[in-house]
């Protein structure tokens, strides 16, 4: 498909070849059955055309054996589609643990990316080739969707929750990405480029854009300025509120006896709506921070809490994040 008018999108992720294989299988079966049925129809229509005005064909009642045959065979073929598609999907939707994380915030009609090392981008995402990249996404307004055709990935970005998608690009290049969930006036303009770079180029790019505090550092500054320290401890060691050290990824027991795993969504909910899930042994004393922090600041707070978990594998970066933020570091809300 190297012609000037290709009929397939570029294939540039570890997943794209597998999705294409299933697609070709589906195309093959579709073409086979369309030709089979179309061919049978054309053959019958010509062979059994009405030859004289008075002919009455002999009635044929039907055949349970044939009915069974053409129910079971399509069912078996459909099941092959199901299992193939489902196993790929399962792989697609279980994010790897050692991925490079990028925080994504969509808003009408732009995309804001922040790398775990602090670099911020708008409508462009630079990533290294042959590394697993995990996008942790939310939106400030309506539903959006990050769709990268060359990687065969797509996931809606939903207000009020975090959704994720991941990919591992296989060759350097610039790839279109699109918003694939209708979001209002400039929906079709809400896209950009994923720039996949060789690791050395990527590191050059990172250092060229250094000097921006990491999300975790910005989160720490927020943690202090919002007064979280008074209950959760100066370093998240706990107090009147639960300890945050080691919290992310651990099992939490709630006061109603339920157990859950502390993930990004749980941290987010506990900041915005603390009364929803209360850790056993603690009182419902935390105020809501709804309206006091925007989506980007929320992601920074979440990143800070995550950074307190030793179990979390350190993400490899070209340049280590600044150890602590300056006490008066302003939360970089709406600037690039």
């Amino acid at each position: 498909m190297q012609s000037s008018v290709p009929l397939l999108p570029e294939s540039a992720s570890t997943l794209s070849g597998d999705v294409d294989a299933l697609y070709f299988y589906l195309c093959g079966v579709t073409i086979f059955f369309t030709l089979l049925i179309g061919g049978a129809i054309i053959f019958f229509v010509i062979r059994y055309r009405r030859r004289n005005l008075f002919e009455i064909p002999r009635p044929i009642e039907g055949s349970t054996r044939l009915e069974t045959l053409w129910s079971v065979i399509p069912l078996l073929i459909a099941m092959s589609f199901f299992f193939w598609g489902a196993s790929l999907f399962y792989r697609q939707y279980r994010p790897p643990t050692n991925a490079l994380e990028v925080y994504v915030v969509g808003k009408q009609w732009m995309w804001k990316f922040q790398h775990s090392t602090g670099q911020r981008e708008i409508n462009e995402l630079h990533v290294p080739v042959r590394r697993k990249i995990k996008l942790i996404m939310t939106t400030e307004d309506v539903i959006h969707d990050v769709f990268v055709p060359a990687f065969r990935i797509k996931a809606d970005v939903v207000p009020g929750r975090y959704t994720t998608e991941w990919f591992e690009a296989t060759k350097p290049g610039r790839y279109h990405f699109f918003c694939a969930e209708y979001c209002g006036m400039n929906h079709s303009g809400m896209g950009g480029w994923v720039v996949v770079m060789e690791p050395t180029d990527y590191e050059n790019w990172l250092s060229g854009n250094a000097g921006q505090g990491s999300p975790a550092a910005a989160g720490r500054a927020l943690f202090e300025s919002l007064g979280c320290v008074s209950c959760h401890g100066a370093n998240g060691e706990g107090g009147r509120g639960p300890a945050l050290i080691g919290l992310f990824g651990s099992k939490v027991v709630l006061n109603n006896g339920q157990t859950l795993t502390a993930d990004e969504g749980y941290l987010r909910e506990s900041i915005l709506n603390p009364q929803a899930k209360i850790v056993t042994g603690f009182g419902p004393i935390m105020p809501s921070f709804q309206g006091q922090v925007n989506e980007e600041q929320l992601l920074q707070l979440v990143a800070f809490v995550k950074s307190l978990s030793t179990s979390k594998p350190e993400t490899v970066t070209a340049k280590p994040p600044p150890p602590t933020a300056k006490p008066n570091a302003t939360p970089p809300a709406k600037k690039k």
Binding site: P6, L15, A40, Y48, R49, P57, G85, L88, V142, R161
Partner: protein, 555 residues
């Protein structure tokens, strides 16, 4: 000729029994109400097609050079709303179903003639409110009304458009109710369930969905309006709501609604295949019960619209599995139609061309549905032109082809006149070619990554524009093809040759009365003694022998 008893065109029929506007607007005759619907849905189809033209013209070039983005968004939204709610859903049931169900089962009318008229007025009221929304400034949410865009962010006429759909839903519910009661209680002596024409079976299944599904969309629209007006917080996460809940509610109706659109067309195609092959349908009971199976399974697959929406992985797996299951009854129908053609006596009249076209297009539409049910492929093609192409194959290639085939087939009965057969075949061919040229390239476009609802697209992707140009060229051919029947059907109402009572020489009950039928359908209540599509009966052979050459009656 004189030796045969050629039935004279009856002096009075349902068309000339009464004259004047009042006699139409206050009629309780199901046949006249069917014609009222025919006029109204043709009007909405015309409006919807104009919007489609704007879309196709805009996409000829990557830039947004015909209309502005805000206009474009309204255009595709209104195309969807008009076509789905005001054309596709009522199309076959409200016109052909209304006209034919009583005639096919040997009844004088539907069970509730006044409710039937009421359903038309409700449809018109819903239509007027929707047109008000369009004229007042339009709506830009997409026909899917996804929240929170529709509840909080869009500043267009969301509530007015929603109200139009809300009102219109009741006409659907009343029609479904009327059909179910009629089919249960009004069958002529001897018309057992297994003697019903398959058109009636498919309308029975459709009616079940109309009654059970439509209230859910009404509730959903009401919730959107309440959220928009009073901010009740059901969908807004900041107030404890969930935007995905809306999508579950919306598709709980709107996926079964696809079967409301396509099941009646399947019923028409079963009639056409059997009658133009002069053969009973292969596996009658399998075809009949597959309609019911589709109606039931259709309610269990809505979650396949949410594979990438943030639904859990396991919900995705279950909905994927069930979506494959619903494909089987459709496959059974296709195989049975094809098998019916074996050792048949097939004529190439216009309705049959539409029916054969339907089978081919529905096969492609159904098979590409399997792409969308396959999770990993759906992740890539969901919300792209692949989806657009798929559902147009089902809705245009399926429903519209069934509708046009049925309209031609029963036109002599409805109007008492013959349409010009040559023009009929020619336009069917033009529509077939135009349709495929419009929508086949969109499958490729979708897999390449072109998202739906895009006003502009990147100019560096040359093949995208090539495919869009092909699609627009196809749409132009399709548009011309659709205008031809509009002209000759209207022409034939006045100038067409007068139709015989049974111009196709068929055994169905609707053909055993005058064309056009008298107001009471049958002068004496028919007694049914045989199954549907029995061509080999001695008395039918006699009919064919007598009247084969007398499609029309010279007066």
């Amino acid at each position: 000729m004189e030796e045969f008893e050629v039935p004279k065109p009856p002096r009075t029929n349902y068309l000339n029994a009464e004259y004047g506007l009042k006699s139409w607007l206050l009629t309780k005759d199901h046949k006249r109400i069917a014609l009222l619907y025919l006029g109204a849905i043709s009007f909405f189809f015309f409006i919807g097609s104009l919007y489609a033209m704007v879309i196709r013209l805009e996409l000829l070039t990557p830039q947004g050079d015909l209309v502005q983005s805000s206009t474009y968004n309204k255009v595709f939204t209104q195309h969807g709303i008009i076509m789905v709610f005001f054309f596709l859903i009522p199309s076959i049931p409200a016109t052909l179903g209304n006209f034919l169900i009583p005639m096919m089962i040997g009844a004088k009318d539907l069970a509730f003639p006044r409710i039937n008229l009421l359903s038309w007025y409700i449809y018109i009221l819903g239509g007027i409110v929707t047109i008000y929304a369009l004229l007042a400034g339009g709506v830009d949410t997409g026909w899917t009304f996804y929240v929170p865009y529709s509840t909080t962010f869009s500043n267009t006429y969301v509530i007015a458009a929603g109200l139009g759909i809300f009102i219109n839903g009741f006409s659907s519910i009343l029609t479904g109710l009327n059909f179910i009661v009629t089919i249960h209680t009004m069958r002529a002596p001897g018309m057992t369930w297994y003697r019903l024409p398959l058109f009636v079976w498919s309308h029975y299944a459709t009616s079940l969905i109309m009654i059970l599904g439509t209230p859910v969309i009404a509730i959903t629209i009401l919730l959107v309006a309440l959220e928009r007006l009073a901010h009740i917080g059901i969908f807004d996460p900041a107030a404890g709501g969930d935007p995905i809940l809306f999508q579950h509610l919306f598709w709980f109706y709107s996926h079964p609604a696809v079967y409301i659109m396509v099941l009646p067309a399947m019923g028409v195609v079963s009639e056409l295949i059997a009658n133009f092959s002069r053969k009973n349908i292969f596996g009658y009971k399998f075809v009949a019960f597959s309609s019911l199976a589709i109606a039931v399974f259709g309610f269990l697959v809505w979650g396949h619209h949410l594979f990438v929406a943030g639904q859990s992985v396991y919900a995705g797996l279950i909905f994927s599995f069930l979506s494959f299951a619903v494909a089987i009854p459709s496959a059974i129908k296709v195989f049975n139609w094809t098998a019916t053609l074996y050792k048949a006596s097939i004529s190439y009249d216009t309705p049959m061309l539409y029916a054969l076209g339907f089978i081919g297009l529905f096969t492609v539409g159904g098979m590409t549905g399997l792409f969308l049910a396959s999770l990993a492929v759906d992740v890539h093609v969901s919300d792209t032109y692949f989806v657009v192409a798929h559902f147009h194959y089902i809705m245009v290639g399926g429903t519209l082809f069934g509708y046009l085939g049925g309209l031609h087939y029963w036109w002599p009965k409805i109007s008492g006149r013959l349409y010009p057969e040559g023009w009929g075949r020619f336009s069917a061919l033009v529509i077939y070619v135009g349709f495929n040229l419009t929508f086949l390239p969109q499958f490729v476009l979708g897999y390449m990554g072109m998202p739906r609802r895009y006003h502009t697209y990147p100019a560096d992707l040359v093949s995208w524009q090539v495919l869009h140009v092909l699609s627009t060229a196809g749409a132009s051919i399709l548009g011309v093809g659709l205008l031809i029947p509009l002209f000759y059907l209207i022409w034939s109402m006045r100038y067409g040759p007068i139709a015989a009572a049974n111009p196709w020489n068929l055994p169905g009950l609707e053909w055993q009365t005058a064309s056009p039928p008298p107001t009471e359908n049958f002068l004496t209540t028919p007694v049914v003694t045989h199954e549907a599509y029995e061509f080999a009966l001695p008395e039918h052979k006699q009919i064919i022998g007598k009247f084969e050459r007398q499609k029309s009656v010279e007066t």
